[in-house]
């Protein structure tokens, strides 16, 4: 009996048993923006005559629904666009491309009731937040730059790592546990200038999806989140130039058709000039300082024919910091993808991607005559990804595919002048493969189930020497391995399940479970992360990190879908987490793996979210109550202790008010409990200097952080506008760092000193569009 049941389940997974009394035909096509031709991702396509049947357009705007022969009305909807109803008489499979019209300001008020807006109720993906770049247009941000990374930190469960911090933490996870993809290429360091700006120019971005740990099987590689960012394709109908000039940075965006309605391109660039202000400083020693970044996003696409479409995307960015010729450091990402969409049939969509990603930093030093030194460090990925999406019928979609990436890490190559002879660190090579299969089923009329499996294999390869260490960090063994020979392979199975149960038209409950594994680990021992932090692969010493997360949520829309409310609880169990020995030497250390400690962790929390979606006044409130803890034998006597990123309370309130046709005002208020830190609990003297005594790690807290940002946009015409913003409007002294030292006025006592970075920072920028 048992065997019979297993076989049955196996077949159920792959085949759908359905009645074939009628001929079935497929309606498929692309959903695009009527004005620009951009593919619309995540548009809902439903059949008026068959409630409960709906699909959403995929990452390339493609949709497919298979129905019995008959007359239907195809309803296409997307937030911010006019609903389109297309009648079809299905006597054979039909290709119906739909273009949706963006709602103009006036129409927005009138047609709002006819929209089907219950997207948050019906989509299975729990913990999925989809952000359209339009949503963030009015949110005030430091230095006036629209920033998608800063905006997602206003959502529940996603927290900033702190001012000056270059990462973010999702559901208590460390900042290297976020998979950040730009048109499918991994971005290793998503921040410019220590986190003040992200590497994403919102002029170039179309869509952003954030999964908080329970992503579908087609994603994998990091424990805590997936940030899937899609670049705009470029206006396929007409040329346009837009941009902005601001106090700290400027940007320009050029897009247009390559061949009208068949191909388009877009190029966006920006640069800051923060160092211009340093040149004006009274202190002449500041004059030689260089501090700026620039980045370029470029994309082109072409519809070869009805079944084939090719895309080329690229990103290049660099941060430069230096002082005259004495020292300089620069760092940046570059990514490139070539993608080919192919329609095998109107139900079988395929995408093949060739992916390149590179992150590196360079240090140049020329301080003393003859003592020149250059260091280069990089992580480079070359990979191929093949995805299939099979729209089986109106109730099921099957996705499967594989992803193969070759990672190459150069921890540090040194070239020096004659007076130094430094050996470069040995390179690390790894080959990572994943195969996934995932099915989405609509069962009954109100239960949506998405379940899948991801198989991940990670192999560390030679050439090189691989060491084993004892508990004191001494080498116990050395193994020499040849080029591309296998040193260590890890295989992991990651199940993913997500269930959405519709209670009624306005509310639903969702449950999900996911396992994630991570084979690249960022070693970072500083409070705010540094561009020189090192990525290391899993190895004979370092096991893959594993996370198991369950979450349960309930969602409800009120007042005819004017308000959206959600409450989610999650619990995450983490294995093979990394922390560092006291006094760990992470810099330029061939034996860096001997400095690491391994342990486990857990994170749990409650996320509440209330959003007013429409109206002159709209915005949202998000609140997260959570805990994130670690347990290491060698730390705090093996007891659970709070992770650095543990934050009990985290509140964000965003309000946007359209004063009139010309002015939009906005405000953001954030409050969060301070990070867990280690403060001294005593002092003593060594060599006449005061030293501080520490006991438990992370037993203290930074003071609570809160600030208010204000913003205003003055729209002069369709072609120009001014944006104003004030960051930290009431100037709360938020602690960036707390130091301990002898009292300046009385050296027989000691004091704590807090450094605040930003208060009352205004910004003005002029935006144009042609």
């Amino acid at each position: 009996m048992k065997n019979y049941n297993i076989c049955f389940l196996f077949f159920f997974f792959f085949f759908q048993i359905h009645a074939t009394t009628q001929q079935r035909f497929t309606v498929s096509g692309h959903i695009t923006d009527a004005k620009t031709g951009e593919d619309i991702i995540g548009a809902t396509v439903s059949i008026k005559e068959k409630p409960g049947i709906a699909t959403i357009s995929n990452a390339y705007g493609f949709y497919s629904i298979t129905l019995p022969a008959g007359k239907y009305q195809i309803v296409s909807q997307y937030v911010g666009y006019l609903t389109q109803i297309q009648p079809v008489d299905l006597v054979q499979s039909a290709k119906i491309d739909i273009s949706l019209n963006e709602l103009s300001r006036e129409l927005k008020e009138v047609t709002v009731t006819s929209q089907r807006k219950n997207e948050n109720i019906t989509t299975t993906n729990m913990g999925l937040q989809r952000l359209k770049v339009k949503d963030i247009n009015n949110i005030p941000v430091i230095f006036g730059e629209k920033d998608v990374l800063k905006t997602i930190q206003l959502l529940p469960g996603i927290k900033s790592a702190g001012e000056g911090g270059s990462g973010f933490n999702v559901r208590g996870g460390a900042s290297d546990q976020n998979l950040i993809l730009l048109d499918e290429a991994t971005v290793y360091n998503a921040s410019h200038l220590m986190g003040f700006f992200s590497v994403f120019n919102s002029d170039a971005i179309k869509d952003l999806s954030v999964y908080k740990g329970n992503e579908p099987a087609e994603y994998g590689g990091r424990l805590s989140s997936v940030l899937d960012i899609k670049m705009k394709d470029g206006n396929a109908k007409e040329f346009g130039v837009s941009g902005g000039i601001g106090l700290i940075s400027s940007r320009i965006n050029v897009e247009g058709p390559i061949v009208k309605d068949k191909g388009s391109f877009i190029i966006s660039a920006r640069r800051t000039y923060a160092d211009m202000f340093l040149k004006l400083s009274n202190d002449s020693s500041m004059h030689g300082t260089k501090l700026f970044f620039y980045d370029i996003n470029a994309k082109a696409n072409y519809k070869i024919n009805d079944r084939n479409r090719i895309y080329l995307s690229g990103y290049f960015g660099k941060d430069v910091l230096g002082y005259k010729d004495i020292f300089g450091i620069d760092w940046g990402n570059s990514t490139g993808t070539i993608r080919l969409n192919h329609l095998f049939s109107d139900r079988m969509f395929s995408n093949t991607s060739l992916i390149f990603s590179n992150y590196d930093y360079r240090i140049n030093i020329d301080m003393i005559e003859g003592n020149k030194m250059n260091i280069i460090s990089r992580i480079q990925d070359n990979g191929i990804k093949q995805d299939f999406q099979y729209f089986m019928n109106e109730k099921s979609t099957l996705k499967f595919g594989l992803n193969s990436v070759y990672h190459r890490i150069i921890p540090g190559v040194v070239t020096t002048g004659e007076s130094i002879s430094l050996k470069s660190l040995s390179n690390k090579n790894a080959w990572e493969n994943a195969f996934y299969i995932s099915k989405e089923d609509r069962m009954l009329n109100n239960l949506n189930l998405e379940y899948g499996l991801r198989l991940n294999s990670f192999s560390l390869l030679g050439l090189g020497n691989f060491y084993s260490y004892d508990a004191n960090g001494n080498k116990t063994d050395t193994v020499s391995v040849g080029t591309r020979q296998f040193v260590k392979t890890y295989l992991n199975i990651e199940p993913r399940v997500s269930m959405n149960y519709l209670l009624d038209a306005n509310s639903s409950m969702k449950f999900s479970y996911a396992r994630n594994t991570q084979n690249l680990h960022l070693l970072s021992n500083s409070t705010s992360g540094s561009p020189t932090d090192l990525w290391i692969p899993s190895s004979n010493n370092v096991k893959p990190e594993i996370a198991d997360q369950v979450s349960l949520g309930c969602y409800r829309n009120f007042k005819d879908d004017l308000y959206e409310f959600s409450a989610e609880v999650y619990y995450k169990n983490l294995q093979n987490q990394i922390d560092y020995k006291d006094g760990a030497e992470l810099n330029f250390n061939e034996n860096v793996e001997s400095q690491i400690l391994f342990g486990k962790g857990r994170a749990y929390g409650l996320e509440l979210f209330l959003k007013k979606k429409y109206g002159r006044f709209n915005g949202w409130v998000s609140y997260t109550l959570s805990r994130s803890e670690l347990k290491f034998d060698a730390i705090n006597n093996g007891n659970y202790y709070p992770a650095k990123q543990d934050r009990t309370h985290d509140i964000s309130i965003v309000g946007i008010y359209e004063l009139n046709k010309r002015w939009t005002l906005s405000a953001t208020w954030v409050y969060y409990t301070g990070n867990a830190v280690t403060f001294p609990c005593g002092k003593y003297e060594i060599d006449g200097q005061t030293m501080f005594y520490y006991t438990d790690r992370n037993a203290n807290r930074m003071p609570a952080y809160h600030r208010l940002d204000l913003g205003a946009t003055w729209t002069i015409s369709d072609h120009s506008s001014w944006s104003f913003s004030l960051y930290n409007a009431y100037g709360h002294d938020n602690a960036y760092m707390i130091d301990f030292r002898d009292k300046e006025s009385d050296p027989t006592r000691t004091e704590a000193v807090q450094t605040t970075l930003f208060k009352y920072i205004p910004s003005v920028s002029y935006n144009f569009k042609f």
Binding site: G164, M194, L278, D283, S284, S285, M286, L291, L321, Y323, K324, I326, I363, I368, V414, T416, S419, I420, S421, K423, N525, S526, T527, S530, T532, Y580, D582, G583, E585, N587, F588, K644, T678, C681, G682, K683, Y684, E685, I686, D687, G688, T690, M691, Y693, Y694, T695, R697, A699, P703, D733, I738, D739, P747, T750, A752, V753, Q754, T755, T756, L757
Partner: protein
Amino acid sequence: MTLMNIINIIRISPILLLGLLCSCEKVISLDLNTSSSQIVIQGNVYDQAGPYTVKISKSVGFDEPSSYPAVTDAKVTISDNTGYAEVLSEDSSGIYVTSQLKGIPGRTYTLKVETGGQTYTASSYMPNAVEIDSIYNVKSDFGKLKQFHLLFKDPADTANYYRLIDFINEKAQNSMMIASDMGYDGKTISGTLLFSEDDLKSGDTLTLWLESVDKGVYDYIRTAANHDGQTASPANPVSNISNGALGYFNACSVRKKSIVMP
């Protein structure tokens, strides 16, 4: 400049530079826990004539005045690997001095402190001395600061560790500077020192001590010098003294050189 120092500068500079744009500091009061009083031992043996001192004190709470109670009546012994041992006598409260002991490079010295029913031991190897080749003043690239370069030649084929202490008019300034010979084995190591105009005036004497130390002492100073709040988890320096004592025991060879400011 050694690699360690370079990397530390580079890690800190972006924050410093950005912070200079907008930051401000303020003294705050925090509610800190107070641990029980810890024993602090600091001892040195040099290759120069003695006597050498071992200072033993206790830690106090953060909010208390910074006067650290001396530990008196401890039994302090220094011995070397040839079997020679000497019990130190308490010269003044908490300060124990040697009488006969003369440090000899190549020997390993052991410190033993018995007090309050506990025993604390430490061991340190005294490397051979390394001479300072020169100290000279250069025009600073950093505006109005005074810049000095220091050169010394590292012995080849051994792993060498150094600690530098600078004195202005006999008063110790910074005793937490370290260097290792990574990348410079057998070559000339250079260091850069910067002083502001107020700290070092015309006629002042700048003295540099170059101590050749062992890895245990090097690791202590390296981890002690990170007390600037930049590490994610500050911790006590890695001490070469057992049983949870704070501080270090340093058997080193030292060479000194002075230069008078013009």
